[in-house]
Amino acid sequence: MAPPNGDKGTALLEKLSRIDSGKPPFGCMQCGLCAATCPLGPAMEYPPRKLILQTIAGNLDKVLTSPSLWMCVACYACSKRCPRGIELTEELWPALRDAAMQEGHQPPAELQETFQNVFKYGNVLGKSPRQRLQWAKDLDVRVLDLSKDPKPVDVLWLVGCYPSYYPRNQGVARSFARIMTELGVSWGILGTKEKAVGECDRMFGEEGLFETLVEQNRQLFDEQDFGKIVVLDPHAFRALQSFYPRFGAWYPVQHYTQFLEEYIEQLKPLMVKPVEAVVTYHDNCCVGRRCECYDPPRELLKLIPGVKLVEMSRNRDDSLCCGGGGGGMWLDAHIVANGGRRLSDERVQQAADTGADTLAVSCPYELSRFEDAAKVTGLEGKLKVRDIIELMAESMDLGERSIA
């Protein structure tokens, strides 16, 4: 690639080159593997390869005003396959989006609303912070609210926005509370004080909002005495694992699949009820492709008597993204309006092609994304979408609902 020439595009790439994450974008040799592997690349005016080319060629303004700037759903496929090791997903895309907003270009309206919800209320859904504990109402296990009753615990569980507020996900939160209690884990939550971790805000270039959340969360976490943080949301996992430490906020963190895998031996005798299902597992992008953590979710599924685990043709590092990552959850309309497709629609078809009757997931976004996709692709009633926690809780006879 051409050397830096001093304009604002190359200045931006130079700044990225100083970040200790991936190789400098100037190393791009324009092989096009990133664009070819991007599931939305064919619909993008500027897929990853062209992003770098145009930015270096002095056409940053074209890049910043293109609708395709807001089409990346942070699946990490381009970063994973880049032969030069350039960190496109976590560095280049967010930096360009930040630059666009700093220059006054407006992000898609749906995303503006999400950003404002997080800034005002600390959650992506725009719900009242005071209702954040609604998921635990009348729960049959004790929920220790550390914000009111601070005590040393082994696990600080960040419940997350969707499991706290979204009815379809609240059952998952309740089941996870029961599983941890059954395992004798010492755990607590931050109650109504909990806030979004902010991964989607950072990935979509809202660096100032992300910094605000890091400051707020850091203060909340530092008031507590805990061994580690456990999250249901793979995006929160990635942010706490990789982005928070850049601000000096380092906390040991596990996604729930990693956490529960450590209890495999203890879990085995607790799986008392067969769950007769042919299950295929969807690797989420953050814990899966980005962190290469593929085995824990499968090991948990194998524990469940009655479950027959089958693999989709695209699995592990070749898994197709659900389309909801890094803020994509709110951008279906923008993506479709600009020639893209809903990746979740394609993914449920891949799941059904295995002969599975159940698509297992481990990300709060995916339940509603894939259930909606099953409805629009004619798979409703043929393909159930269930979180691994729901399947485990059913086998442990701790679940509160069975999905017909």
Binding site: D98, M101, Q102, G104, Q106, P107, A109, Q112, F115, Q116, F119, K120, Y121, G126, K127, S128, R130, P167, E206, E207, G208, L209, E211, T212
Partner: protein, 257 residues
């Protein structure tokens, strides 16, 4: 063009509203406050006019609720001056009395154009904008959905919405006050990094206006939650039961088969 915008705080309806024990007011202790939506549009319209034709934008606000957050955001968006009116009451005065306060703060600013949201969801005695126009002695046009600089110097063209989606374009000679329903574009998104920057650099001018706040003409006799009307059927039960009953009702009405 020297543009002044009034920015008010209103209770955020994300929280359930509760009636105070006095029975004649809302319990605002637990409420959070946000910028009044049509004032946000008024600010956007002012910024668009400034960007198109130069001049300055001054935001005037009563020091109430979470007003600083709204003012930092206004500064981050491009407001040039922020004037905050000292106020230590529990509840902002009704529109007529508020108008006297705002007028005293706005008079020294030499405004060519004053933009005020045409409505706010906590108004009891009508909109602030006509009261304020009267207090400032300015001509007034309300329910405006877009403003452009006029062809003649010292004028603007305001787009006014009438019932039935009838729109009128009106030449308005300045100085004037416009009640804004909507700006030419939705209020802009400003990155939080800019707001954080404004928190460090923005200067608020304090206005200790001495307008005598008159005893309100309007007094609330009492508040109560809406009671079920004779023809209303309040549905209760689980989500499934409620959904089932809705389907039954639609079928009874012949709306679904």
């Amino acid at each position: 063009m020297n543009i002044v915008v009034v920015v008010r705080q209103v209770p955020d309806l994300i929280e359930p509203l509760e009636i105070a024990s006095s029975g004649d007011a809302l319990d605002l202790d637990a409420a959070s406050f946000i910028i009044n939506e049509s004032d946000d549009h008024a600010l956007e319209q002012a910024l668009l006019l400034k960007e198109a034709g130069g001049g300055g934008v001054t935001v005037v606000a009563l020091d109430f609720g979470d007003v600083d957050n709204s003012l930092y955001a206004a500064a981050a968006k491009g407001a040039d001056r922020i004037v905050k009116i000292a106020f230590d009451g529990d509840v902002p005065p009704p529109a007529r009395e508020s108008a006297a306060l705002y007028a005293e703060a706005i008079k020294p600013l030499g405004a060519d154009l004053v933009l005020v949201g045409v409505q706010a969801h906590d108004e009891l005695d009508g909109g602030l904008s006509p009261f304020l126009a009267a207090a400032l002695g300015m001509p007034y046009v309300g329910v405006i959905r877009g403003v452009k600089a006029g062809d003649a110097p010292g004028s603007v063209v305001a787009c006014k919405e009438f019932p039935g989606a009838v729109m009128a374009r009106m030449n308005v000679k300045l100085p004037a006050l416009l009640g804004i329903l909507g700006a030419d574009q939705p209020p802009r998104y400003v990155p939080v990094s800019r707001i954080r920057g404004a928190m460090k650099t923005a200067q608020f001018e304090e206005s200790a206006v001495a307008a005598a706040v008159a005893e309100p003409l309007l007094k609330v006799g009492g508040l109560s939650p809406p009671a079920p009307a004779a023809r209303a059927e309040m549905l209760a039960g689980s989500e499934e039961e409620i959904a089932g009953r809705i389907v039954e009702i639609l079928a009874e009405k012949g709306l679904v088969k």
